[in-house]
């Protein structure tokens, strides 16, 4: 399931929902990404832009790729759009599988995908002005591990 919405993300509630129908899963991995203040930058919020008709279907393709690569039982992706205040979750990914390597790796893969290859655009809103952010070099290196 993929949810793109301006509503606050509650990772604990999402985990509770995700954990309800697990089949014979032995492993659940989750990841939550949060808006950081980043010290000197004094970030107050992110603004996340997306392309409604494109973003959802592109993420679906990445989920299909993950399902082809690993024997997953379920996946869930939730990503905020619009303004997200500092300290708040901006993205949540959960995966379940029989064994933990599949759950961990698919969760890691999907987060790398969201950071670099999903059609989102991220602006930091700070005391000293706003700035559109591109992925760090490390984000591309992380992503390239899966190629």
């Amino acid at each position: 399931m993929i949810i793109l919405a301006p509503d606050p993300i509650n990772p604990a509630a999402l985990a509770a929902e995700f954990n309800k129908s697990l089949g014979d899963a032995g492993a659940i991995a989750t990841f939550t990404g949060l808006v950081r203040r980043e010290g000197e930058k004094q970030v107050e919020a992110l603004f996340i832009d997306h392309a409604p008709a494109i973003t959802q279907s592109e993420i679906s393709r990445a989920v299909s790729e993950a399902q082809n690569r690993w024997p997953l039982i379920r996946t869930k992706i939730v990503h905020r759009i619009g303004r997200v205040a500092v300290g708040d979750p901006v993205a949540f990914v959960a995966t379940s599988a029989m064994h933990r390597r599949a759950a961990f790796e698919a969760c890691d893969f999907l987060m790398d995908y969201l950071k670099t290859d999903a059609p989102f655009w991220k602006k930091q809103i700070g005391r000293t002005g706003d700035e559109w952010i591109e992925p760090r070099a490390a984000d591309y290196t992380d992503r390239d591990r899966w190629r």
Partner: protein
């Protein structure tokens, strides 16, 4: 009429959407060159970034054909999560 949508930093420059009338079939690349001719700020911005394009919500090459009624999306480098 072709509708062109801009996202992320390009939406700050161009607004979310522009409508362009067209006489003959063209390509995404030709439409972008035409826009660059009209708007120096757009030209400067996209010369600095690796932009992707979608025609009718499907991401594809810059030389994809564009016909009347199509929707083009101009996609700066992605950055989520």
């Amino acid at each position: 009429m072709v509708r062109i949508f801009f996202y992320g930093p390009l939406a700050d420059i161009m607004g979310r959407e522009r409508a362009v009338s067209m006489s003959a079939e063209t390509t995404v690349r030709q439409m972008m060159e035409s826009l660059c001719g009209e708007d120096a700020e757009f030209k400067a911005a996209i010369s600095l970034m690796r932009v992707q394009f979608a025609v009718n919500d499907v991401i594809g090459p810059a030389d994809a054909p564009v016909k009347d009624g199509d929707e083009i999306a101009v996609l700066p480098p992605f950055s989520g999560g």
